[in-house]
Amino acid sequence: MLDRTDTSLTSLLRRRRPGYSLEAPFYTSPEIFAADMDAIFERHWLFVAVEPDVPEPGDVMTVDIGRNAVLIVRDDDMQVRAFHNVCRHRGARLVHEEKGTVGNLVCRYHTWTYNLEGSLIHAEHMGEGFDASCHGLKPVHIRSLEGLIFICLADEPPADFDEMAAVMGPYIAPHNIKNAKIAHQHDLIEPGNWKLTMENNRECYHCGANHPELTVPLFAYGFGFAPEDLDETERAQAERYGCLVTDSHDDWERAGIPSRMREHLDDMVTGYRTERLPLDGEGESHTMDTKAACRIPLGAFPSAKMGGLHFWTQPNSWHHFMGDHAVTFSAIPLDAERTLVRTTWLVHKDAVEGVDYDLQNLIDVWMTTNVQDSELVGFCQDGARTAGYEPGPYSPYTEMLVDKFCNWYVQRMRARFDPAPVAAVAA
């Protein structure tokens, strides 16, 4: 039982025990949720979309982040822009559909009209002295990392995005996301705090027991194991897997495909990790038969067996890029106990459903896995609400990345709310 009574956010942050899950209020309290939205979601780079979400000029989509409404639009020069989805007249929401196509951006209320660069170009009845140039849409920072769209709501976004992008660009570029199309997109509301969603994503300790489909293409060892727990056969398999990773990395990198692990999950404001991991079986894709789901490869690869390039970002995304398709995941908090997880499956834009790929086969593994994860997240949310909940220890072999996620989170929260200097948590 907790014997502490001070539950102010700063003291909760200061007494966080490294290597342990967070105290219950981090998962249940509406106040801490509001603080998360302020410190994390209004101040960091968030992964919210892919360029194929708005493939052509005039294509627009909306994303709501907590109290903020953002629109993302592609302009006539093919540039992707983001604005606050709020009319500068009387503040009406501007774009209502999740996705659509516009000529200019027109407010339904009094038809104030903005071009795709956000300038106000038409406002009736405003009189002589009205200066339209003072009433353009408010821009939101936006960056495309090889087709992955990140936005940042802060006035001054974290500058180390460029550092991350410089490393990650060459990893993602071969997968040609800009030239992909969305084969399927699925929104799932997980019944848990966004941190539980992220924590669940950062380990595969639970995979063996819960993801019979996912563990067909994925080696469970890829995400760590405790050697003393393995029996003879398992140890042999783990060793074989270790050699496979080293050999694959050598092969892929020799062919010009960056593959080695790079990790800055808790030592950068824009925390991330990447690694290309071999796949089991045929080694081609996250499918039930481990073969490519799509006949047309995403990019120009030396072989179909490109494994899966994993890319994790703090605070809200993870991705798997394969030779034939890619899957991106964006987690967006809805309230203290609910999180929207949007999964997007991408194939080459020339691929035709039913001809070059079977949609069911393409999405099967992750559709199934997502539902399983959602349920597990719900279990933890239920637990966090009870008097019996107490932070438990992470496995040092399989849950290091969960711990790093929490380290990053606590640091970022303390940077915002704790006036005392924050000691960097060592990676």
């Binding site: 196509t101 516009v102 000529g103 200019n104 027109v106 038809t111 009209t113 038409h122």
Partner: protein
């Protein structure tokens, strides 16, 4: 025609001038009797009509590809200057009157010239202030315009309105004349009909126009300025009666609806006006499929403007092809569109258009 041009009723607004824009838009069609309809017209831009009551307009009709000209007296009063109306009686086998009845709808446009003619009490004031207006059939229209004007302007003229009709059902403007005479006692009205109608026995004068009828209605007719309009035989009969009664024929004025009977100068004026109307700008038909309205649109005008001038209210804001508010589905036809980013090529390819910046190049059907 008298050289001294009449002073039109002033409205203090820009006047409709057929030399600037000769197109009138039909705003409404009203059924008056089983074979008489009134057509109410407005100018395309904000203008007001100035004319003297009793004058007529010359219209151009395009019927089956042919341009036909006809004259119609303005039946409305200049005291309501935003619109003009004409009231048309069917003529058996007549190409124009029947086309108007059967095909002409609100939203459609006509070219018109005028006003012209000097058949008006404005030009022939009565020394005694007393008038007798005698009409037969569709000849009621100039009388109606004069009487409506007197009523609107609350003039105290001693006006006797004598109208001859075939049956009680054929009396045009029956109710309105009754209302005007009830509320302005200087207007008195009497009708003379040839016989009962199926549902109505006529309690008033019967038969054809006669000296007895005129004397009964206006015993002091000799003191009056008399205006007559109607079919030729009818006008001839009135003329004969008045001459025989020793009436001073300088105070008798008549208007014939028979073009060939107009004075030569008047015929020349009509023909000149008709020549000026000969269309040079093509017009196309714009059909609004949902509201079931048809609007005539010159190829130089945007579809939105033509619809607006025909009294339709369609969503629009910038009128410049920016905001997309007027975006509409084009079911058929060709347009020339000059937009400013309010629509995507993909949308155009999918059959959409911005009607605020699209001009017709053929007949067009719009899903609105």
């Amino acid at each position: 025609m008298d050289a001294a041009s009449p002073a039109p009723t002033s409205t203090g607004f820009y006047e409709w001038n057929p030399e600037e824009d000769d197109v009138l838009i039909c705003r409404a069609v009203r059924e008056e009797t089983h074979d008489v309809k009134s057509f109410i017209f407005a100018p395309r831009s904000q203008r007001r009509f100035a004319f003297t009551p009793g004058q007529f307009l010359t219209f151009e009709f395009e019927i089956e590809g042919e341009a036909i000209h006809r004259c119609y007296t303005i039946s409305s009063a200049p005291s309501r200057p935003d619109t003009v109306s004409i009231t048309v009686k069917r003529v058996p086998g007549g190409p124009v009157s029947n086309w108007l009845h059967d095909h002409f709808r609100p939203g459609q446009m006509l070219k018109a010239a005028g006003p012209m003619g000097d058949f008006s009490w404005t030009h022939h004031p009565s020394r005694t202030g007393k008038y007798l207006l005698i009409s037969g059939g569709s000849g009621i229209t100039p009388m109606m315009s004069m009487t409506r004007t007197a009523y609107d302007l609350a003039e105290i003229r001693d006006t006797i309105f004598l109208h001859a009709a075939r049956s009680p059902d054929d009396i045009v403007f029956d109710d309105e004349i009754a209302v005007m005479s009830r509320r302005n006692r200087s207007i008195r009205a009497a009708h003379i009909v040839e016989g009962d109608s199926p549902l109505q026995a006529w309690p008033g004068f019967r038969g054809r126009i006669s000296r007895a009828a005129i004397e009964a209605v206006a015993p002091d007719f000799r003191e009056r300025e008399i205006f007559v309009c109607g079919p030729s035989p009818f006008m001839a009969a009135v003329r004969a009666i008045l001459k025989e009664a020793g009436f001073d024929m300088s105070r008798h004025h008549e208007e014939s609806f028979n073009f060939e009977e107009l004075a030569p100068q008047e015929q020349a004026a009509v023909e000149e006006a008709a020549a000026a109307l000969e269309s040079e700008v093509r017009s196309w038909k714009i059909e609004f499929a949902k509201t079931k309205r048809v609007v005539e649109c010159p190829e130089t005008m945007t579809i939105l403007e033509a619809a607006r001038r025909a009294g339709m209210r369609l969503p629009s804001s910038c009128s410049k092809g920016m905001c997309g508010t007027c975006k509409s589905k084009k079911v058929s036809g060709t347009v020339e569109m000059h937009h400013q980013g309010g629509i995507r090529q993909r949308e155009v390819d999918a059959g959409m258009m911005l009607i605020c910046c699209s001009k017709p190049r053929s007949d067009v059907v719009v899903e609105r």
